[in-house]
Amino acid sequence: MLAFAFRRLLSAIPTLLVLLALSFALIRVAPGGPFDAEKQIPPEIQERLNEVYHLDEPLYQQFGRYLVGLAQGDFGPSFQYKDYTVTELIAAGFPVSLKLGGLAMLLALFVGVSIGTLAALKQNSRTDHAVMGVAMTGISIPNFVLAPLLVLVFAVTLRWLPAGGLGDWRNLVLPVISLALPQIAYIARLTRGSMIEVLRSDFIRTARAQGLPTLEIILGHALKPALVPIVSYLGPATAGIITGSVVIEQIFGVPGLGRYFVQGALNRDYTLVMGIVVFYGVLIIAFNFFVDLAYRWLDPRVKL
């Protein structure tokens, strides 16, 4: 187990390095720079800006400088938000995205697995078709259609909930639902498929033959193996959702990481984009690691 963790850690380093090098190269290849604006900067100031931010150095030197800083935990200053460092921005944005994304994922997992199981039990019944029909719709309706619709109904018309911003739990309801709905749909479909397969397996038939009640069969025997494909989906999906959704954050005016990422790319805020890429990369690697651990718990046949 420890050896496995160690191996994983070691293999993560080259992965991250490749990720860093690629994204560093890509964002620098994009035309336009962080200081390009409608109002031209006096040439002397432009030169000095390049000097201060080391943009006048060759790319490999800048990349080296970035890596050295990163090794010391320094993500550098933001090019765009001049009063803040990238570390501060990520530290401010991540908890918000984590809260929204985490809640959305929990909700999606609970609801998705429940209705997926229900559909599997009543396979090809009306319930099944209804549940899966709704799920298909959920997958097909994009966030940027669903979220404004929810705002229009629940905030503007009914006035039950705020239309956006940070505040108390009421501000979380609409963004969490908007984030969770497509996930619910996806998880429900995954659960249904794998549950149907598990329910047909020999050990479930044995359990049934022994006369165990259905609920106990599902919860005690079928659920764990049926969750394996969902867990492998959950790893990257969770990493993705807790690092923020730019659409949801923009519509609800939520200060999460997703907006930084997109705004950072549009503004050519090199350090901010790189910082989030690193952060996102580490999270993905970590979640994949957790997923592997979870496999073993779910299915003892899996060897790490």
């Binding site: 900067i41 905030a155 519509i251």
Partner: protein, 534 residues
């Protein structure tokens, strides 16, 4: 009566009609004086000398008081300086500061603070991108280029309350420049102590009606009234929230849910709905900006082809564009300079012709340039990615096609790419816009000077340059205006740019927000506003 709303600018009244609210309660102030403003993009910084965007400007205006202020209608009025004198040669301003000027931490605002601030703005180490605004001050440009030390700036404190500013040349619009954030004061001690990160809650010390209470990046900026502000007693609103929301639909939803009282934008596709359902909330007024098409005069097909350029300009039906496309009341533009004070707006002679006359002349010029139906002009239109710019480009290419037979290719690029393409002059025709930095024709005229870095058409005309330089040295305001007007006629005759329309500012303002007056700069100061009971 509006108790608590009186201020020194007694001429200022509520410009909006509150007749519909009616009743005694309609004119009483609300118990809670909190204003929620939508404010576009997240501010890059609240350091006034490093800020450059409109969203920053909106917030900074509440935080800082410049030497010369604006009344709600945009007229210049005394601010941190209670009075000033100008020397006879028009080059030395002597400002008398107010005795009761205070920083938000209680320190008196001294003349030396202004000297420090103006030097800081021009010190190349500050990395101000808008430093050019202060170049009229003696030695400013040389200091900014690093050729002279900041101490050589033509600014000195004669005593604690007297500030002298010496200019390079007489600059009639200089007082207007003092409204720009580049000319705002920073508190020397807190800047020295906190370095370039001083502009954050807890360390930002300001001298305006409000102080910085809280800043949650991408969420909101909260200001609260500055108890040390000299006119604090006349300020009504206690707290202001600025929300960085760029998506116009999201702004509109939050406005409708009463979460915002004031917006700086509207979703243009909802304009009809807004006008029908909340006509008294929607406020539009002329804004100091021009939407135009630049023609690259450094390359074929527009190099040395003023006739062809003019033909393209004449073929565009601006009335159709403003009525059917931009649609929010923009004014068709035939000239380059919007309506500014002390300046006679210019337009080419043909602007008054009938459509048929214009088109006939355009066709003649087009043929004279050597193009025919069989051998038409092929031109590329560059614009930055946006539905609105695209619709306009399609309309313009259709007009060119219909009137002249021009073949066009539309090319859209993401903002930063587009900026670079434009600067490198890898363009033929490109969409652009310019918002004036101050209320004077010069902020538009200087853009087309051959040495100006923003002259993206690459247009060089020595007599235009000479007229601008003459105007810069002219003390007589009327003669100066005449010179600038003549320069604009030269510009319009050569047509390196095709003005399309003059911008308007668009706001949604709740009926309970009082004290707002539209002005050409679209500058609003929260201290002039108040919240009515609702």
């Amino acid at each position: 009566m509006l108790a608590g709303c009186s201020s020194d600018n007694s001429a200022v009244g509520a410009a909006r009609d509150y007749g519909q609210i009616g009743g005694a309660s309609g004119t009483e102030l609300a118990a809670e004086q909190v204003l929620h403003k939508g404010n576009g993009a997240e501010p890059q910084t609240l350091d006034p000398h490093r800020a450059q965007g409109v969203p920053e400007g909106n917030i900074l205006r509440d935080l800082y008081e410049p030497l010369v202020m604006e009344a709600p209608d945009g007229e210049l009025i005394p601010g941190a300086a209670e009075s000033w004198m100008l020397s006879e040669d028009g080059r030395v301003y002597t400002f008398r500061l107010r005795q009761d000027g205070r920083w938000s931490n209680g320190d008196p605002v001294k003349a030396n603070d202004w000297v420090f601030s103006l030097r800081r703005g021009l010190d190349p180490a500050t990395l101000s991108v808008y430093s050019g605004i202060l170049y009229p001050i003696k030695n400013a440009a040389a200091i900014n280029r690093g050729e002279l030390p900041p101490e050589k700036l033509g600014v000195r404190a004669l005593d604690d309350l007297t500030l002298e500013i010496t200019l390079e040349t007489p600059t009639p619009f200089f007082l207007g420049l003092l409204n720009h954030s580049m000319a705002y004061p920073v508190h020397p001690a807190s800047v020295a102590q906190n370095g370039e990160r001083f502009a954050r809650p807890g360390t930002l010390v300001s001298n305006g009606a409000y102080l910085l209470k809280d800043w949650v990046v991408q969420s909101h900026i909260e200001l609260m009234r500055n108890p040390n502000f000299r006119e604090n007693a006349a300020t009504t609103i206690d707290r202001v929230f600025y929300y960085p929301i760029e998506n116009a639909d999201a702004v509109f939803a939050r406005y409708r849910a009463d979460e915002l009282d004031f917006t700086t934008t509207i979703p243009i596709r909802q304009l009809e709905f807004i006008k029908a359902s909340m006509p008294s909330d929607y406020v539009q007024s002329p804004y100091l900006g021009v939407y135009y098409y630049g023609l690259n005069t450094t390359k074929a097909p527009f190099k040395d082809q003023p006739g062809l350029r003019k033909a393209l300009s004449m073929a565009i039906d601006r009335e159709i564009i403003t009525e059917k496309l931009s649609g929010a009341g923009e004014l068709p533009a035939y000239g380059w300079v919007p309506e500014v004070q002390g300046y006679q707006q210019q337009q080419p002679e043909w602007a008054m012709w009938t459509r048929e006359q214009r088109h006939a002349k355009a066709r003649r010029l087009y043929e004279e340039a050597g193009y025919t139906a069989d051998d038409p002009l092929v031109v590329e239109i560059l614009y930055n990615t946006s539905q609105d710019h695209k619709r306009l480009a399609i309309a313009i290419s259709a007009m060119w096609k219909q009137v002249l037979g021009v073949e066009t290719r539309l090319l859209n690029q993401e903002w930063k790419v587009y900026l670079q393409t434009r600067t490198l002059k890898n363009t033929q025709a490109f969409r652009s816009g310019w918002i004036g930095d101050y209320n004077d024709a010069h902020t538009f005229a200087e853009l087309m000077h051959s040495k100006n870095a923003q002259n993206d058409p690459g247009w060089v005309n020595l007599s235009y340059d000479a007229l601008l330089e003459q105007a810069a040295n002219e003390i007589d305001l009327q003669k100066r205006a005449k010179l600038l007007e003549e320069a604009e006629r030269v510009l319009l005759d050569e047509t390196p740019i095709i003005p399309i329309y003059f911008y308007i500012s668009k706001h949604l303002i709740k009926p309970w927000v009082g004290g707002f007056e539209p002005n050409i700069m679209d500058h609003t100061y929260t201290k002039d506003l108040y919240i009515l009971q609702h």
